[in-house]
């Protein structure tokens, strides 16, 4: 297995050569191409709702509809416990990071294959593709967040004030998790399009494994650690804790989620980088 590393030797000179061992992350190139990340995000956002009747309203309708269905099924019919929070607010709080994650996962995993003409024709750090797909989801997130604020006013749920600093941290955890999984899946997808087939099933399965429709407190005590191996469980619990004050706040289960998330992210980075050299040949 050979890899290429590019070293800036003197201004303007690029050395191209195969090397062995783990690829350097080459963050320098990522920095040089930082504007491209911005442009890709900007393009994704601009194009997403083009030629739709409802436009940006879809960013509101999608989570709102899911919330209504959940409210009917799990709130009214199944009457799941919500720790005293009105079910619509309870589920919508979870649907925010979940929506971000699903979009990032789906777009991110398909990003390399979707842009195969870029990959086979020009050089740029390939990391930009999954990264910008993940960041593009933040715009939908921001719009849906406004709706959540409205819902909280309507149901008179008072948030805890420490959310100002805890919420961004949980958002970051959601992004790191989504990006980590997207790095793995997008790189595998280049060679094995099985990923495309597995994605719908994977997201559905993941939704059930994450306390979006229900509360994490229904999981029995001895399974809590195993349950929090799913980093999205940590994210969703964290969002509920930061915004609604439910649950215990940061405890061992959160750190397990954080640890797994960072592990997926770091290993994803290295896997992606080690496969990067073959993308243009195998895509």
């Amino acid at each position: 297995m050979q890899m290429t590393e590019l070293i800036k030797y003197e201004p303007h000179t690029v050395y191209i050569k195969p090397s062995k061992g783990l690829a350097a992350l080459n963050l320098r190139d990522l920095w040089i191409y930082r504007e491209l990340i911005f442009f890709m995000v900007w393009r994704d956002v601009k194009v997403k709702y083009k030629q739709t009747l409802l436009g940006m309203a879809w960013a509101v309708i999608q989570p709102l509809m899911t919330m209504l269905i959940f409210t009917f099924l799990f709130g009214k019919v199944a009457k799941l416990p919500t720790e005293g929070i009105p079910y619509p607010v309870f589920s919508f709080t979870a649907l925010l990071p979940w929506g971000l994650f699903v979009t990032a996962l789906n777009q991110g995993s398909r990003s390399l294959v979707a842009h195969n003409n870029m990959v086979t024709k020009i050089y740029f750090p390939r990391l930009i593709l999954p990264m910008s797909s993940v960041f593009a989801g933040l715009v939908d997130f921001a719009i849906a967040f406004v709706i959540l604020v409205g819902l909280m006013f309507y149901y008179q749920v008072t948030p805890a004030w420490n959310l100002l600093w805890t919420l961004p941290l949980f958002l970051l955890l959601a992004i790191v998790t989504a990006l980590g999984v997207a790095l793995w899946l997008s790189a595998i997808n280049v060679q094995y399009r099985d990923v495309n087939q597995a994605l719908p099933f994977l997201t559905q399965f993941w939704l059930f494994a994450t306390p979006v429709a229900y509360s994490a407190s229904v999981i029995s005590e001895k399974w809590q650690i195993a349950y929090s191996m799913n980093p999205m469980a940590g994210v969703v619990n964290g969002f509920r804790w930061a915004l609604l004050g439910t649950g215990n706040g940061p405890d061992i289960t959160l750190w397990v989620s954080v640890g797994i998330s960072i592990f997926i992210f770091i290993s994803g980075l290295f896997y992606f980088r080690s496969m990067e050299k073959t993308f243009a040949d195998t895509i």
């Binding site: 050979q2 303007h12 690029v14 911005f38 086979t120 024709k121 020009i122």
Partner: protein, 429 residues
């Protein structure tokens, strides 16, 4: 002079053959076994221990290629299909990475083959200029400063705020080309073989290339068009089966390329390693130039018909296949193109062909060619679907004009054709 590009022992290995073994199911049992073992295979493949490695063949698309190019020089690259020309350009522009060797490149590498990469149909012309510029590695400030120039060059000023999906294909290409042309890289790479667009557009590409060369920047130019190579480059390298076999002044390199690999006997046979895997199910066998008597010849008479015989194998049934000839002069100008199913009745009869050995034989009538040497290219394709096999310079033959019209004057005549026209002279008074 400083060195712009320094290539040292570059090699690029590709895996081939993996795809063919993958779907070769003979029995239901194979399918079941394959399905059951699929997760294991996936896991193995992910950690890089593919169990299919046994079935994989490796080919060297490039092997041990070394050359230096000084700043401001224009270098032509010639070679047959599969000689490694495009692979070399891809390595230089960092799209793919070499398996062995090192390259140092001084400055930004831009290429005219990436025109329109990243264009999004829903975005306006203005938005696409910024998007495309960023993809090509331009800073936003750089695009800002060149924006008006790009718009002027593209001639789409009044539609600049219209989504490009409403553009005509010509407008689309002009805009895309305008962005690429204003990248102003220190090193420009042009792969004419892959260039898209109409003749007009290709002329524009070549014109731009000439301008760039005039400004003293380094240019690498890949083409099958020998006259373009001769016109635009002073020096050229010849690639053959991934190896650099010659570097010389363009005229010398072109002469060498055109006469190499083409047997003197008017016959060309393909061996297994000449044929790219991608050509399957089509396998070329041989190409012959004959006299009417059936004798294989290197030199034909302009006044006699010429028979061109292309033998090939089809390994599995194909629909829509057409096998054709491209006749061109040694300078790369096409004389004509013809396909075996051009006539309606042959088209009906052979549009779908079963597996087997075939010969497509064409008789080129007498009184077509002028004096000189001509190249026969062969092509097997399904129109609009796929090109199975192509070799633009499969064979060459000489034309002798003794007895042709106008030879009583003994002067050379311009133009590649020398038809026997039906002249009438009338005296009017």
């Amino acid at each position: 002079m400083t060195t712009a590009i320094s290539v040292k022992n570059i090699g690029k290995q590709y895996k081939i053959g993996a795809a063919e073994t993958k779907f070769r199911y003979n029995m239901l049992r194979d399918v079941i076994v394959d399905t059951v073992s699929a997760p294991i295979r996936l896991a193995k493949a992910m950690i890089g221990k593919s169990d299919r490695r046994m079935n994989q063949n490796f080919v060297w698309a490039l092997k041990d290629v070394s050359f230096d190019l000084e700043e401001g020089k224009v270098l032509g690259i010639v070679g047959r299909n599969g000689a490694g020309k495009s692979t070399l350009l891809k390595i230089l522009s960092r799209v793919t990475e070499p398996t062995t060797g090192t390259v140092s490149v001084r400055g930004r590498v831009g290429s005219l083959l990436e025109v329109g990469t990243g264009f999004h149909p829903e975005l306006t012309g203005r938005e696409n200029i910024y998007m495309n510029g960023a993809i090509l590695g331009m800073r936003r400030s750089e695009i800002d400063s060149k924006f008006d120039e790009i718009v002027d060059f593209s001639e789409v000023t009044q539609y600049i705020d219209t989504p490009v999906k409403r553009y005509s294909s010509g407008m689309y290409l002009r805009l895309a080309f305008a962005v690429a042309a204003h990248l102003e890289p220190e090193i420009l790479v042009v792969d004419e073989v892959l260039a898209v667009g109409d003749a007009e557009f290709q002329r524009k590409c070549l014109g731009k290339m000439g301008d760039v060369a005039q400004q003293g920047r380094t240019v690498l130019f890949v083409s099958h068009n020998m006259s373009a190579i001769l016109r635009l480059t002073q020096e050229a390298i010849v690639l053959n089966k991934g190896q650099l076999i010659m570097r010389a002044p363009s005229q010398e390199a072109v002469d060498f390329y055109l006469s190499s690999g083409q047997s003197q006997a008017g016959e060309r046979a393909w061996s297994a390693d000449d044929i790219p895997v991608s050509s399957l199910p089509f396998t070329p066998v041989s190409l012959k130039v004959k006299e009417r008597s059936g004798k294989v010849v290197d030199t034909v008479r302009s006044t006699e018909p010429v028979i061109v015989e292309f033998e090939y194998r089809i390994n599995s049934p194909v629909t829509g296949l057409r096998v054709g000839l491209y006749i061109s002069t040694m300078r790369g100008e096409y004389v004509f193109t013809s396909f075996d199913t051009d006539s309606p009745d042959l088209y009906e009869k052979f549009d779908s062909r079963t597996a087997g050995r075939y010969i497509s034989r064409a008789e080129i009538p007498a009184d077509i060619f002028n004096e000189g040497r001509y190249s026969v290219g062969v092509n097997a394709s399904s129109f609009g679907v796929r090109r199975y096999f192509m070799d633009e310079n499969a064979l060459a033959f000489n034309v002798d004009i003794s007895g042709a019209p106008g030879t009583q004057w003994g002067e050379p005549r311009v133009g590649p054709v020398r038809p026997r026209l039906d002249w009438k002279i009338e005296k009017l008074d």
